[in-house]
Symmetry: C2
Subunit: 362 residues, 2 copies
Amino acid sequence: MPRLYNFSAGPSILPVPVLEQARDELMDYKGSGMSVMEMSHRSKVYDEIIVHTEEMFHKVMNIPDDYKVLFLQGGATMQFAMVPMNLLAGNGIADYTLTGTFSTNAYKEAQKFEGKTINVAGSTKDVNFVRIPQQNDLTLDAKADYFHMCQNNTIVGSRWNYLPDTGSVPIVSDMSSCILSEPVDVSKYGLIYAGAQKNIAPAGLTVVIIKKDLLHDPLPGTPTMLNYKTMAEKDSMYNTPPTYSIYMAMLVLEWIEKTGGLEQRKKFNQEKAGILYDYLDSSSFYSTAVEKDYRSMMNVTFKTPNEDLDAKFVKESAQNNMSNLKGHRSVGGLRASIYNAMPKEGVQHLVDFMEKFAKENG
Amino acid sequence: MPRLYNFSAGPSILPVPVLEQARDELMDYKGSGMSVMEMSHRSKVYDEIIVHTEEMFHKVMNIPDDYKVLFLQGGATMQFAMVPMNLLAGNGIADYTLTGTFSTNAYKEAQKFEGKTINVAGSTKDVNFVRIPQQNDLTLDAKADYFHMCQNNTIVGSRWNYLPDTGSVPIVSDMSSCILSEPVDVSKYGLIYAGAQKNIAPAGLTVVIIKKDLLHDPLPGTPTMLNYKTMAEKDSMYNTPPTYSIYMAMLVLEWIEKTGGLEQRKKFNQEKAGILYDYLDSSSFYSTAVEKDYRSMMNVTFKTPNEDLDAKFVKESAQNNMSNLKGHRSVGGLRASIYNAMPKEGVQHLVDFMEKFAKENG
């Protein structure tokens, strides 16, 4: 079968050269006599992989030396608990912004910890999350242990177009669906976390980038596996890490570096999103709800005039070499996730199909 | 490079036909136009994989219908916390047996939960864990929410040679290093857990087999991701599961079924362990500490007359197409982990080398 243009929101498309290298090395990694999947995490040959992957994160994302990269498990949802368990050990106060489903879930999870103060610092729920709160809309607590935001909202298709000024309160950002899509100034964050299954690697790996001065004892009763300090002290090897997903992350980071780094990724991603949004703006058939200033570069959401045509679109796109264009079940409509590995040709193929579909059904 | 005989305790050797199939399907899974690594966990094509994997566990392990198989993350160490978080919501009492490093770690982790009673029901620490407590040695609490044991002790190389009678108290067993090595009567257990990276799949997947009547609300403050009930209700898809490791587990289970199932695995494993233990018993050069009745079929520990020769053994075995024969750093000596995927030829190759080494250094 020809390779599909896979618009899945995650797990999602991976770069072809990365998959080819994984295939070619699958039975024998660089003459080691075994697959990466079979390597003891404490062996010399695997140690080189995990150390190099950490170095590559620092290099590609330009992460300062006073930050530690952790390789964890459980996805962003596990971080929704791990962040408060570790960071609320200060004043027991946190500011959350609600800009979509996952940021709301993060807020709800933080409320599980008794005797803590979990504030809503800003929300655009009243407008169905079609925009992001502006600085003036935020109610900030100067005593908060951290400020939480979801940088890119995968389901609604929006993103923060600025980084709030939170004074001395560390910013914690869920970058699951936008990490590695463009350069970010890591020094402006206290903690960045991301499930790997969009722009980093296959599912099963969660990357946390934490400022070292936030590594302190967590709340009492925190499981050892959910303790950032322990995981940092053990270089993510308190127990067996998800070794193969980490190797895949290394291949993806090497591919990003080889193809021009994050500046080049941003250029490609702007171009791809531009093609799609320009077409949407010119069309009277399709509509997109998110306000222009807050449109995601990774997840483009849109609708046809009605639900029946949305369903027809999903069906016919699948017959035209595309997959996973159905919107999230909670919001309906259509969604094209165009992560790093989606080629420009895929986006052009989609727009060509959209034009044809609009003509036939408009 | 020729394929190494990889005696790693985990992550560890995988069956060659499984690796070959993974390689052949890596770029395009059965004409789907994408890699399994790229599939949305909510897509039809992936759903078939995860549903089939769960079915294969039921089939291969003969798991009764009143048990649920969960695909989780974080390894056995995460289960050390997840078990008490979920099961102590009853009387708040648990019985633990200490038979090695990991069972002791499980006991310590359970002590983190305030106001609960965590008993030592039995321990062989005073004899360095060279045997397992017998039924008469156990001090059981009839009100305990569960009884915890580690079925096979990877580091010391011992195993339970019987299943204790705990009355109506459910048995929770860590089977990380012996699952799928022989048939077990699942109906005798309340909960079985296992990190995948020994006999199931690459690292990053944790399998939990839980009796459905134990699925109840956990302790207050338990993170959503650590709630068995939620994960069971969502068929392990509350968020993105470790999709590729689950696929690899499916391939391994199919390989086990094709090669005769668990009865045949037991026969092979007994034969392999027998070759090694018979030689050890006949040797005056090597010694093994674990008492005969409790010897592990998966992890065979032994020593040469001194530490220098142990180190020499590790070095020379590596020059003879074998890897990872060094004992765990906490106990020293030597260890050959001979999981399902280790062929009989590998064990024979090791014994031939051991004979030669003993002659040269005895």
